[in-house]
């Protein structure tokens, strides 16, 4: 559950936590676009280390590292698969890269994506997020569903732990067997988790309706988001970054390690 840990918000205050969520989302979007646009390892490495100052400024390095460690499993998966397919059909990967470099670049790209989303969720409270969505004229039903989903992540993680304990107490060994067996070992965990989630969502819906949810069409908020100077700065920096990234993609030839190595 360590990946989920990395997306769990804790109430702290830092220059990053205080930024307008819309601007932070713009930043995430830009890093997302940047990671998608490049498959060259050197640039993906740069992208990987670029957010470090943000993380340190926000003081969330521990949770951030934990989310990366959680993502490692999937990343190594991507590495192995890309490596196999790179060797099997080299025509599908760019000519400038050797299969191992390509495979490494692909899993690093995945980590780049996880990392930027993790920073966003670690530094943005669900309340701020819902405000941001509402002020972007997203219908309240969707906003509410989204923030509820985010809010229930820790509850779900805790429940998954209890279910794992309950099944272990009945002799289930998650780490036993070959790959397919291990995947199957998770069925006794997933079914109770899904069933109780559905049950809980029905209960939540009933509880909300009995408290008059949706009774008035027009909603007002106690707080409204306002762009401050720091928000404008971050927005401009993000946009400049986007322009730079596009410029580099179009006009600057990006080297790969395979090209740099002497043959």
């Amino acid at each position: 559950m360590s990946v989920l840990e990395g997306f769990r918000f804790r109430h702290v205050s830092s220059p990053i936590h205080r930024r307008d969520p819309r601007v932070k989302f713009l930043y995430v979007l830009v890093s997302f676009i940047a990671a998608i646009m490049f498959n060259e390892l050197p640039l993906l490495l740069v992208l990987f280390f670029l957010p470090t100052p943000f993380v340190l400024l926000a003081g969330v390095q521990r949770q951030w590292l934990r989310s990366l460690r959680g993502a490692m499993f999937l990343a190594s998966f991507l590495f192995v698969f890309n490596l196999i397919f790179g060797f099997l059909s080299p025509e599908n990967i760019p000519k400038t890269m050797s299969p191992p470099e390509y495979a490494f670049a692909m899993s690093l790209r995945f980590l780049d994506l996880v990392e930027s989303f993790s920073i966003f969720f670690l530094t943005t409270s669900p309340d701020h997020l819902s405000l941001a969505l509402e002020q972007s004229r997203v219908p309240y039903e969707f906003t509410f569903a989204f923030t509820t989903a985010v809010r229930f992540v820790p509850v779900l993680a805790e429940e998954a732990q209890t279910i794992m304990d309950a099944q272990k107490a009945r002799g289930l060994e998650l780490e036993k067997g070959n790959f397919m067996k291990r995947v199957r070992n998770y069925i006794p965990i997933l079914i109770p988790l899904i069933v109780s989630s559905i049950r809980r969502s029905l209960e939540l819906a009933e509880a909300m309706e009995s408290r008059g949810w949706g009774a008035s069409k027009k909603r007002t908020n106690l707080y409204a988001l306002k762009m401050r100077r720091g928000d404008w700065v971050l927005a401009i920096v993000s946009l400049l970054f986007l322009v730079t990234v596009i410029y580099v993609r179009l006009y600057v030839p990006v080297p790969t390690f395979t090209m740099l190595l002497p043959h």
């Binding site: 304990d165 309950a166 272990k168 107490a169 009945r170 002799g171 060994e173 079914i191 109770p192 049950r199």
Partner: protein, 274 residues
């Protein structure tokens, strides 16, 4: 059998749930662990089958430290029935649900069939053999969960909050069942808030508060001691409260269940005190 030696346990979140707990449970004993929410009851019993390992100190089950043995191996000896059956039910039929643990423990197919039939019978679930556990009522699901643990015949059975969400009749059936299990030589540990239920069973009571054991002894002694009860924030059974209020009539103060109370009152009345 289960030996808890000066155990401290701290959750990764930093919550210190057990502080220097020592306890020893003999074979065939019937134990109720009581105390308010957050006293550390569930944390303590999770040490017994190795789901949680002590941060300091050690827990020995049949002389083997829980650190040196997997949960799956320990579970063979120590069965644990969780509070909420919905945290474990996942199979298509009740029968499969009960067979799950037996498969994990590598029972032979023929033995497995016999054990499943035995467990279904034991908890009066035979008619639901082919029913989906999700179609059953709350009380029935709880019985399926219990059957799925008893099926492999563990030496120790731990029941976490067995009485929650059960009506009076179900509770009474459960009580008789637990007493019967214990009479057959099983070690039974229940974790509960339900003083009336404990009073009716009268097991050995271990009272916890803030991660420590504050009292340990006979149900009669512990449940009728107002000071001890106060310390652990539990309320003595209602019948005990009445007798504690009537001490100046010369009535006994150590009454914990209704039949005892009736006897004491009859004796009092026959003594010409009306």
């Amino acid at each position: 059998m289960i030996e808890v030696k000066n155990v401290n346990f701290t959750y990764p979140t930093g919550v210190e749930a057990l502080k220097g707990v020592s306890l020893s449970i003999r074979n065939g004993e019937f134990l109720a662990i009581m105390g308010q929410n957050g006293a550390g009851k569930t944390t303590l019993v999770k040490q017994f089958n190795g789901l949680l390992k002590p941060t300091k100190g050690e827990v020995l089950v049949d002389g083997v430290s829980t650190r040196d043995i997997s949960v799956a191996r320990l579970a063979r000896k120590v069965g644990f029935v969780f509070q909420n059956p919905d945290h474990q039910l996942f199979s298509e039929t009740v029968e499969e649900e009960i067979a799950f643990a037996l498969r994990n423990f590598g029972f032979k197919e023929s033995t497995l069939k016999k054990r499943v039939t035995w467990a279904l019978n034991l908890l009066d679930l035979t008619e639901y053999r082919k029913t989906s556990p999700f179609m059953l009522s709350g009380g029935e699901r709880k019985r399926v969960a219990l059957a799925s643990v008893l099926a492999w015949n563990p030496k120790v059975v731990i029941l976490d909050e067995p009485t929650i969400g059960q009506d009076h009749r179900q509770k009474e059936i459960l009580r008789q069942f637990i007493v019967q299990l214990n009479a057959q030589g099983k070690t039974v540990v229940i974790v509960t808030h339900d003083v009336e239920f404990v009073a009716e069973c009268s097991p050995r009571v271990v009272l916890m508060a803030q991660g420590q054991i504050v009292a340990d002894g006979d149900a009669k002694r512990i449940l009728t001691d107002p000071d001890v009860a106060l310390q652990a924030s539990i309320v003595p059974p209602q019948i005990t409260q009445i007798f504690l209020g009537l001490t100046d009539l010369g009535l006994p103060t150590d009454v914990i269940d209704v039949s005892e109370a009736t006897k004491a009152l009859l004796e009092y009345l026959e003594g010409g005190n009306c």
